[in-house]
Amino acid sequence: MTEKTNQVKPGICLSWDEVRKELPDINGDEELFKRIWEDNDALGYMYIWQLLLSF
């Protein structure tokens, strides 16, 4: 994880806004891409914070 994230919001490791900039134009449903990205990203967030707190 060497990317510069520049955000500290809880629940997010790598924001959709940042990833979106790296993608070409989207001709499909962007909200769907965003939602699924954020759902999976939240699992990464859970992983590190649960490691810190629970284990």
């Binding site: 994880m1 060497t2 994230t5 520049n6 955000q7 500290v8 919001k9 809880p10 629940g11 997010i12 490791c13 699992l43 967030y45 859970m46 992983y47 590190i48 914070w49 649960q50 490691l51 810190l52 707190l53 629970s54 284990f55």
Partner: protein, 425 residues
């Protein structure tokens, strides 16, 4: 005429004649459901600092479950299914209202897959029948260095991935280092193992409910920003030095951790808003830090989180490990009913006098009593607690600290049976 009871009666007569076995199952199921509802109501009523039908019993039984069910500490630490079975056996055999589905919470199979350095694992680092241990690194090997506060505060999540985890795990490569098979497997196996473990709690909670009518005692986890800095980042000795040498940096880091710890607490909270979020209190108590440090740093970065959790409709269980008497006045600033205060080393009678009018209290039965004294002495102490602390409700029976395998089965039975017999309102 209401036909429903009549039709139901006919149906039961029919079932009892044609399928007597199924009727027994039906009645048992009905009884367990009823028992669960009674216990949930009793437990929640007490936590709201009100008077239920009887004193609820909610023991935080950890390695005690292994002792009772015939497992070693290695088995319940390293195989969570064995830990679940041990908890279920206790739930079935003791008349307890609520327990934690697995109080031997740290699954060492997971910590081993990730390569975490800081656990003493039963069967490897400590004897097979000793509970797992947390091993704080020496001051010089702390997982966060004294000059890294700004980096932590700038983006705590990124810091944890890039700086903390490579130091806390023997497998994870630091930034700039070559990656490795073990590095890659640590994330893959760690992530999948964590999901496997967390996903197993749902069925375990259902089994507790359906097999013995036992309530899952807490939901979600919270730790104070200051405690996290002390426990997992700077270490206690490093942090106490920082409190003198760079207190503003410590405060800034605690403030940066606050929204993340709140988010994590709420993400695991009970959607039904019945049972509290567990708050495991470590390093803010007497004598780890002084009162000035508590008031200038610990409390200002803790109180707003508890208030926000309460605004979201959840209680917080203050599992007050150690002595917290010096800080009870601060806790009284919180809204009535917003917390359940669990007594460890403090005098449960004094705590009740001080904050019992505002918050439910649990625990306070000394662990040495349960381990080394006679059942008669256990009953005498429980009687005093029920008479003086539980008289008006708002009390939950439990030991002071989590019960490990030193607790005597006979004494735990004495605590349970006496509370059931004597603790009726």
């Amino acid at each position: 005429m209401d036909l429903v009871p009549f039709i139901l009666g006919l149906y039961l007569i029919y079932v009892s004649c044609r399928m007597p076995g199924r009727l027994v199952v039906f009645i048992e199921r009905f009884d367990v459901e009823k028992l669960y509802e009674q216990r949930l109501k009793r437990y929640v009523t007490a936590m709201r600092n009100e008077k239920p039908d009887m004193v609820p019993i909610r023991p935080f039984v950890a390695e005690f479950t292994a002792k009772y069910a015939g497992y070693t500490c290695q088995q319940v630490s390293h195989d969570y299914n064995m830990a679940f079975e041990a908890a279920l056996k206790c739930a079935a055999d003791f008349d307890w209202d609520a327990i934690v589905p697995n109080m031997v919470y740290v699954w060492t199979g997971l910590t081993q897959a990730i390569g975490l350095k800081y656990y003493g694992v039963p069967g490897i680092d400590v004897p097979v029948d000793t509970g797992f241990q947390y091993r704080e690194p020496p001051e010089g090997d702390a997982f966060m260095k004294e000059d890294e506060y700004d980096q932590l505060a700038a983006n705590p999540t990124e810091f944890l991935f890039n700086v903390w985890l490579p130091r806390a795990s023997k497998y994870v490569s630091a930034q700039g280092e070559a990656t490795s098979l073990r590095n890659n497997l640590s994330f893959l196996k760690g992530g999948m193992a964590m999901l496997s473990y967390f996903n197993a709690f749902g069925p375990q909670i259902e089994r507790m409910k359906n097999e013995s009518g036992t309530v899952s005692a807490i939901s979600g986890i919270f730790k104070a920003p200051f405690d996290i800095l002390a426990d997992k980042l700077r270490g206690y000795i490093g942090l106490t030095m920082d409190l003198h040498e760079r207190p503003k940096k410590v405060l800034k880091a605690c403030e940066a951790l606050m929204p993340h710890l709140l988010h994590t607490a709420l993400s695991g909270a009970d959607p039904d808003k019945n049972v509290p979020i567990g708050f495991w209190m470590h390093r803010g108590c007497t004598p780890f830090i002084n009162k000035e440090q508590f008031h200038n740093l610990q409390w200002p970065t803790l109180k707003p989180i508890i208030e926000e959790i309460w605004r979201n409709g959840h209680q917080t269980l203050f599992y007050a490990e150690g002595r917290w008497m010096d800080h009870l006045d601060s806790f009284l600033e919180l809204p009535a009913g917003s917390i359940v205060f669990h007594v460890d080393q403090d005098d449960v009678f004094e705590v009740h006098k001080k904050i019992g009018h505002k918050f439910c209290i649990s625990g306070g039965i000394p662990n040495y009593l349960l381990a080394y004294e006679t059942p008669d002495n256990v009953r005498k102490f429980c009687k005093k607690v029920i008479d003086e602390v539980a008289a008006d409700g708002g009390y939950i029976m439990d030991a002071s600290a989590i019960m490990q395998n030193e607790a005597s089965i006979e004494n735990v039975k004495a605590m349970t049976e006496f509370t059931r017999d004597y603790g009726v309102y």
